[in-house]
Every structure is written in C-alpha cells, then in structure tokens.
Subunit: 342 residues, 4 copies
Amino acid sequence: MVVRAAVAGASGYAGGELLRLLLSHPQVEIGALTAHSNAGEPLGALQPHLRPLADRVLRPTTAEVLGGHDVVFLALPHGQSAAVAEQLGDEVLVVDMGADFRLADPADWEKFYGSPHAGTWPYGLPELPGARAALAGTKRIAVPGCYPTAVSLALFPAYAAALAEPEAVVVAASGTSGAGKAAKPHLLGSEVMGNMTPYGVGGVHRHTPEMIQNLGAAAGEPVSVSFTPTLAPMPRGILATCSAKAKPGVGAEQLRTAYEKAFADEPFVDLLPEGQWPSTAAVYGSNAVQIQVAHDEAAGRIIVISAIDNLAKGTAGGALQSMNIALGLPEDTGLSTIGVAP
Amino acid sequence: MVVRAAVAGASGYAGGELLRLLLSHPQVEIGALTAHSNAGEPLGALQPHLRPLADRVLRPTTAEVLGGHDVVFLALPHGQSAAVAEQLGDEVLVVDMGADFRLADPADWEKFYGSPHAGTWPYGLPELPGARAALAGTKRIAVPGCYPTAVSLALFPAYAAALAEPEAVVVAASGTSGAGKAAKPHLLGSEVMGNMTPYGVGGVHRHTPEMIQNLGAAAGEPVSVSFTPTLAPMPRGILATCSAKAKPGVGAEQLRTAYEKAFADEPFVDLLPEGQWPSTAAVYGSNAVQIQVAHDEAAGRIIVISAIDNLAKGTAGGALQSMNIALGLPEDTGLSTIGVAP
Amino acid sequence: MVVRAAVAGASGYAGGELLRLLLSHPQVEIGALTAHSNAGEPLGALQPHLRPLADRVLRPTTAEVLGGHDVVFLALPHGQSAAVAEQLGDEVLVVDMGADFRLADPADWEKFYGSPHAGTWPYGLPELPGARAALAGTKRIAVPGCYPTAVSLALFPAYAAALAEPEAVVVAASGTSGAGKAAKPHLLGSEVMGNMTPYGVGGVHRHTPEMIQNLGAAAGEPVSVSFTPTLAPMPRGILATCSAKAKPGVGAEQLRTAYEKAFADEPFVDLLPEGQWPSTAAVYGSNAVQIQVAHDEAAGRIIVISAIDNLAKGTAGGALQSMNIALGLPEDTGLSTIGVAP
Amino acid sequence: MVVRAAVAGASGYAGGELLRLLLSHPQVEIGALTAHSNAGEPLGALQPHLRPLADRVLRPTTAEVLGGHDVVFLALPHGQSAAVAEQLGDEVLVVDMGADFRLADPADWEKFYGSPHAGTWPYGLPELPGARAALAGTKRIAVPGCYPTAVSLALFPAYAAALAEPEAVVVAASGTSGAGKAAKPHLLGSEVMGNMTPYGVGGVHRHTPEMIQNLGAAAGEPVSVSFTPTLAPMPRGILATCSAKAKPGVGAEQLRTAYEKAFADEPFVDLLPEGQWPSTAAVYGSNAVQIQVAHDEAAGRIIVISAIDNLAKGTAGGALQSMNIALGLPEDTGLSTIGVAP
C-alpha cells in the first residue's frame, strides 16, 4: 500500500515536523507541498534539516494542487480548513492540524476563536476512550492542540476512574516552537533565552475549552479547568503539571492502579516507574508521552505530570498516528518512542 | 557608618551573588570570605565575575575567622548555622541564608529536614505584614527560601484580604542556580538545556512548610499548599504560578484593588500594569519582584504570577534588604530594581 | 555637575542597555527618549526591565526633541546620524552608537555600507593608543562596533609590539542581541536555541574594515583580517578567538610581557592569570574585557582570546566610558567591572 | 543477516547515542550493555529517552560479558580498549569509539595522551580518500574524534586539490555533550548556559594531532593546524570554522569545483547551495555533514565551515557508518540525514 500525501503549510514548524516524520513512514509517498507567502521557494531554504526534500518547490495552497492525493494534511491558520476540505471531496482523507474541527460546542468556538463554527470531526487523540473506534476508516480527522494532548492524557484516567474532583488546575510550560514561525519581537531568541513568562492567563487561552471538553467526557460530568500556559527557553517540549482534589478516600495506590490500567496497552504512553519524573528532553523528537502521578496527602490533591514533544506527539506525530488508524495501518508505523537526548 | 561584613560560603552561588551585591553597597566593607573544600583558593578562580575580589583567598569557616565583623552572612548547608552563630556572640548581626531558623514548628522542621530544630529568627521577607518591625534592630535574620519568597509575595495579599479559599496550588519554574554549585549529573548543561522537568512533587519539597507558614499567618487560618517545583533551562529566575479558589463574590476588581493596596509603598514589588505579565528576564540580577493577578471567572479561581531572580531577591538581595532594615539603613541601599535584559 | 542626556533609539537593545547604565551614573539625568515606530508608547511596555523609567513616553526622533541636552546618544540605523548631529549644534556632545563616523577611508565606507561617507569622529575605544587624547573634550564620538571592540583589544598589543605577522584570522561568536530587536525569522528563539551558525563569511561583514583600520594603526603597516562571525545561542556576549603567525623568534614570555604592559593600567581590561580563560558569562552586564594569550609553538601562532558583553563594553558601556572622558569625569563613573553570573 | 551488537560504556553520552541509532538499524540486535560504576542499574534510570531498552540491566565491562557478539562497540576511557579487544579475539568486529587506535605516530600519542601507544586501526572516516577500502571487511575500526571529523571533512578537499597552504587555522564550537557525562562544576547548566568559553588553547587539545595526520595525508605534505575549541551553550553540535591561505592563483570558482567533486557521491555530506550556511540545528540527531566554502579575496584565504552533530556523525553515527562498510551492508543502513529541527 502506497499512501500519497500532500502537506498544506509545509513552510511552518508543524508542517516541517510532519515532513520529517513522513520521510520515515514506509508507506507514505510525499506529494505536493504548499505554502502561502513562501510559495515558489525551494523547501531547502526554509527547512534546511529536511535534506531529502531540499529541492522541492513550494506551491500555492489550492484545491487543484492538493487534489489527487490519498491524504491531505492541513497546517493552516484557523478558519481556513473547511473551505479547502470541501473542495477536496469525501474520498480524500483530510487531517486538519489546525483548530477548526476540534470543538463540539459552537458557542465555545465562537467565544474563543471569534468566527463561525465549522463543525466537528473525529478527534485524533487515540488514547482517549472511544477515540480509536471513531478514527477507524474516517476521512476527516481533527488533530488535537498540543496542550490538550498533554493535559488530557495526564488527567483523563483520574476522571474516568472517578478519583478526582471536577476542578482541574493546570500549569504547562511550552517550548517556543509552539508559538509558530512568524517573526514576532517577543519570540526573538534574545527575549526567550534565560526567560520564563506566562501568557493567556485567566482562562482565555484557546486550548482551554478543548481540555474541558475532553476531561468532561471522561468524567461524565462538567469539569472546570484553570489553565496557565508559560513560555520556556527551549525550542520544543511541553511539561504539564496537572492537579485536582482527590475524591474522598482516594489514595496513592488507587491512583497508581488506575493509571497503570489506563495505559497498560498504549504504545506511546510511558507511565514512568515510581520515583522517576517526566522530562521534555527524554521525548525530544519522539511520539512518546511520559507520565507520572503523585498523591499529596497533606494538600489532598492528585498531581499528574506529563511530558510530550509539542511538535511530535503534540501535533505532527499525533496526526500521523491518527492517519495510521484511519487507513488501517499499524498505529505506530513511522513513529518512534525514542527521544533524541541529551 | 561602615559595616564590616564576612561571608561564610563564598564559593557557592548564594555567596557569590551576595558578594556581587555587597560590592555595590556604599556602607559595606567586605571582610573575611570563607569556604569549606575551597579554602585556600583565590576567589578569582571560583567566581571569575567578581573581578575586584579576584585575589582574595578563601579561608576556613571558623568562628575565629568570622569574628570581628559587624555582620556575618552564613551560606552554609542546613544544620550548621546554629553552632557558628552561637560562637559569634549576640552583638554581631548574623544573617542566615540557609533554612535553619525559618520554621516555627519543630515538627515541620524535623519532618522536612530530619534533624533537631534550632529555633526561629526574625524572618527576612520585609514585605510580609509585621516583618519590618521584627527585623528592625534585630541581631539575627532568617533569610527566606527562594520559592517561599516568590510564592508568599504572590499570595499573601489575597489571603490577608480574605479573598481566597485556604487551598493554594503552586507550580513554579526555577533556574538551575537554585540547585547550587555541587556537580551532579542531572544538573549538567547537557541535561538541563532544552529540558523542563519537575522534582520534589507531591508535597515533599522542603520549601512547602515555609509557604504554609507564611500564607497561614496572612490568612489567620490554616492554608494548604500543593507545591510543584520544576527545573527550567535557564541559570536564574523563578516564575511562580499560584492560584486558589476565589471566596464567594470575589471579582477581578476587588482582587486588583487588594494587590494595589498591598504593594503601594513597596520599593521592590512591581505590580504590573494590566495586560503585562511577569518575566524572569526583566528581573535578572535585580531585587525586583514582578507580580500580576487575574481572575478566572469560569474556573472560579484567583491566579497570581510572580517573577524574581532566585539568587537576588530570592536569596542574597533579600538578605541585604533585611540587613539594611536591621541596621537602620535605607532599605534599598545597594539594591537595584533594574534587570539586566535582554 | 549634572549631565542631561537624551537617547535616540531608546526602544532597541543598544538604547535599552545605555539607559540601564545611565540609571546608575551619578552625574547623569535622563532627558528625552525617542524612537521611530514606537514613538508614543511608554518605555515600560518595551523595556520592562527598566522599571524606574516605565512611565516615560517615547517621543519622535527630531532635533527639536533632542535639543537642550548636554549629551545626545544616537542609536539609529546607519546613515541617519549625520543629519541629526548637524542640527544639534557644536556645543552638544553627540555620541554616535552607529557606524557612520567610524571609518576613515571613504572607499571602505562606500564598499561596505553602500552610501556616501559622512566623515570621521574621535573613536571611542579608549584603550587604543592615542584614543584618550582624541576623546578628551571632544563634542563628537564614534562608538566602535561590538566585534571591533573585542578584536582590536585582543590584537592591538601584539601588533603595537611587532610580535605578529600582519595577517590576522578571527572567528568570533556573538549573542543574538548583537543582531538587534527587529523580528526576523532566523533570529526566533526556536531557531537560535541549540544552534551555532556563521554569517557574513568571507570578508563581507561590515565590521571587517574597522578591525583592519585599528590593527593597521597599531602595527604601523597594513594588516589583513580574515573575519568570521558566528551566532551563538545566548542573549549577550562576544567571544573572539584571534590569531596571527608569530614574528620570527617571538615566544610565549615575550607575548605575555607585551600584554601585561599594554593593559597594566587599564581599568576595564582583565588580562587573566595564566591557565584561566575568558568566558562571556564572567563579563555579563559589565564593562570588563577578559583577555588571555597563548603561543602555539607547533603552529607558530599567537592566539589571543577576548570576551566582552556586546551590549555593555561592546556598545553602551563603551559609549559611556568615552562620554566620561570627553566630559572630564573619572573614566569609570557609572561603569562596573562585575559580571552577573552564573 | 542479523548482527548481534554489544556496547561497552552504555551509560554515557556516546553509548547512549549509539543505542539510539542501533535501535533503528534493521540488521542489528542489541546484546549486552555494560558500564563501570553504573553496572547493575537499569538503563531506563540513566538513559530515559531509550524507552525500548528501559528494563535492560547494565553489566560489568568484561570480556566474558562482551563475548559472543558479532560486533562490540567500545565507549571507554582512553587506554582501556586494547586489553578488551585482545580478549575478544580476531573474529569479532571491534569498533573503538575512543582515541586509542587513531594516531599512527607513537610519539604523538605519548605526547598528547601520556600513555604507551596501542597501535593503529583502520580509520572510520569513510569520506577520506582510501578510507572505505581500508574499512571493507576489517575487524577493527578506530572511530575518529568529533572535532577531527568536522575539520577533516571541511579541509581535506582543499588539501587534496592543492588549493591551500599547509597552515590551517581552526576555531570550533562544540555542544557540551562532547565533554561527556561526568559531573564537573564547569559543565553545570548554570555555568554553560549563556556562556561561550575556550579550552585546550594553543595546540594542546588531544584532537590536534589527529587533524594534522588527516590533513597531511590529504595534502601529501605536512600541514600545521592551529586549533582552538570552544564550549557553546547547547547540548549537541559542532560548528567548525576552518581556514588557510589560498595557494597563488586559487579563486572562488576553483574552490567550489573541488568541493563539488569531492562530495558529489557522498551520501552524508551536504555541500550547501551558495549563500546558505551550515547550522548545527539542521543536523541535530542526524548523520549529515553540512559544508560551505568561501574565498576571502582581500585576506587571501579559503574559509570552509562544517556543521555536524558531535554525538551522531561525530561519534556514534560515524561508528555505525563504518560498521556498515566493514560488514558489507549498505553504508547508510540505519542512518538518517534528516535533522530534528527546530
């Protein structure tokens, strides 16, 4: 089986990471690569690490260019995916790495994104309950946001097992690639090196409703999420520190058991041995998720910490994993759990 | 007035930062510098940035060497300060930059430090209610821990004004200098660059009871603190993300007002204009504290974020500020609020 | 004596560093601050580390705004200083932190900058032979480039003492602030962290003729310079590795002696003890220059390594040092040789 | 064909990187893993990024444990490989990632390493003239040093084509993993972040005679090398800036042609398009070498810049590439030219 794949938005970080992974996927043949302002340039000038594709010339993002592939990955600014997807037809697998089809509630969408709701597609976080069934054979995939990937995987087992009160507190640190490749002064190396700073504080970050949606589904009741993202001086990686009050009577052992059970058969989730803590370096460039749990008896809280590579499992790796499921390929085809460290 | 100061532990990061600041203090004359394993070496080989002291030779940490000064700063491993302080006599101002005299409750001390409790000295966080009065004229100062400095300043106004429920959740990122200068594999540059990782998770970090003590005093009732420290890829700085449920009826305006009032006359606390967020880079090398507050209405939580330089305001700067108060000098003598950025 | 100083270009890195230093200068009163696209904004939004000036509003860069000061610092794009200086009149001390008045040879200027030559002003590198005499009482100062500062200080003693053949090879690593605050994709944190890359290779960097001019003057004969700058993953600092063939018969001892003699009375140059090497961290935020020399007998070369802070001694500190000389103030007023480390 | 491989020194950075690569090699089955002080520990505690090997327990480095494999990789302190290799017998392919068998001249070895010379094995830098022939079928491989890899590849074409005078000047920046995993104070994250510093200056670095050996062989005459290594604030990567005077009459075109010819068929060497410069980020985690050349007409010098990943092509990748040749496998088996960026 040969899967011919096109990538819209190949000049950015998400597109570049996807291409890095696709180059190692044995079934994928890389087709059209498109961009907006960089159309006409060779990829080698923009993504010099993708040496085998250095001579490929970026084309404009049109349905004509993207047509004729088995899979089309969209790494576009939000609000643009629906129009492209429609033109591609129902036979093509469209994997949207943007936000457009993640939220089920139109009100949430409009509040956080300020534009009309486009709809909902099967959600590409296979580890969530029921997700694999929805992805199998689908022609449309909504890839989760990077933070919701880290946070949902960290907390859904606690909610699914009814161990945690429905008020989660999340503080996450992200590498700068999560902010994209657009040149903005506050993202200059001079500004970010040696610096930690928060942004989107107080419930206004766009990934918040996505976390609420996922955790609420796991809990079977509404869950509130207090989410504070911070920018860390590293190119990649998310470290999410997630906590919630433990339900009465819940202890460390029960917690550990629930997580062991939840992730027993997961190829990409690494519930670490007790005493070992997740680190973003250990998952650098890989599709792995490191998770560790703790019970703070004095504070009465469950603490769950997860580490992912925001570009890999958090975006492009997650997209590929879901594509594999949709196409009936082994889920880990072309995906590695080995980090590049130190 | 000339203040003759000795520094015990001059080879480490806390001692080095203190010397950097003392060199700019117009009243201080730097006397004996001591160390343990580095005794006999010139300071220039260990602290090459402290050029004016390059030829000073480190001496052993004994009462004899430290005697005859007006102020003695102790940057020693915990458990060692009491014996030294006793030998120095009651007329000398002893500023303990270690943990020995911070905790009032012997049980807390023994649980977290595993050794007999040495006592309690006036606590060197002048911004806390009542702290300045206790520091004025004292001959003994317990300098706070770096995390408790960042967290107590962030949250005490909310507790003092009865705006927050007594269950705080804190996630803080620290630069690596907070872990000291002892060579340990996990602190190697190769390990920490590009990496975020937690440690001391689940209520076991030694700074936890100190935060609980400070916030409980502000609240007038016991406050629990769920504290998760993380190691960030930067040499200096702490960014503390602190939150608690808002008491019923509390809103954004009330919150802002309480913080404006709490810090109106504080020379080192910078409650940022709305819309601007603390960053560790902005306080690099300075004694300033940047604070910003937010109210997450949907989650019902108050979020307060603070940034400090862990070595400056978090250790050596805080020590100097408290020394100034104890000696009756203007509180900001020799201390700057200007960061070194970018 | 009160010196009223204006700063044109206060929103950039050079302007910001100058303001950081001016705030500690006991004789300077900070007057008008101007900017181009940021005119109208409060400085606190652009330079959050300069807390005492947070409420100052940036004004447009016009002769009217800059008039009425004792000193005007220009941190402008090249080609703009001459027009401004002319309007300010001959009584005002104008310190140009740009390149316009550095090069004596119009042909060099035109070749490297592509615009008409504006002239030559006294050169603000006081440590060079004859420089202090030219600066004393002057009303016009051309502040050197950051790389020429590091390289000229490293090599002029070897050339002045006729120890080196007139063909220098220089490879220098610079922190990213040297590239300024304009948002360009290749300067994003995601691009520069974990990355070393050269630029301006092959003799095309604009600082090359300035080095040739300085070293040729010291040697009394033309000196060629092969200069390769590289961008290092740090916000500040230049490490310059400079070498030249030793003249016949020159050895290590002769070399050391020449450097000891050249820098014996220099307040800001730190010829390190043998066995200790310069590091950019040790001069972070300071006006100090660290230098070390070596003689590679097998290769027959003299190697001289210097470390400076590109924004401090390399730009704003050098400007202030030269201003002090021009105004007859002690040369080190408001300038520190203590680095902020670690 | 299944190749059973053992790794001695699996707890260090070189050993860890080798295992990362071996895990992707389709013919290799990973056998015994040994260590010195870490023997008895699970690999997961030391190399958490190597998830598939997390439960492997490290064994002591003895001939007994290493016996019975097809290939044994030695990542041992220098001076220890000869004894181990002897005990393994002549039928086993021994790949020494240490220095013991690199230098042909016993005097060089003794001068730089201070111990008796062990001999010379076929040199594992396949791109050098004649190297592949010597590696084919060999049972002993000496893997080059990381700096000599970067420098020899950069300069050998110029010397082989008689374009450069036999006096090379090299300044190279290395990531901290090149210094290994042993915990030393100057390698702490607090020390290296934000810092550039040289070491081994003046011809004393142990990699110098190796470069001289390689370049002399290419030139057919003795070549002197002035080599200055610097430590850069990044975990991985070497950027080598190499230059030499151009022989009379040599120009840019001739230079470019020589390099195009030298690397036309090299699978891992990427002579970049004109105008594009090597960066360590682009080869992060890959076996690729980026090279660019320039002719500085004014200075009369050839400048060649190369970028490699010191752990990959510079150590473990080079080892694997040479193993492939020795075993008659396609040279690029299990090796990627795609970097992990940003």
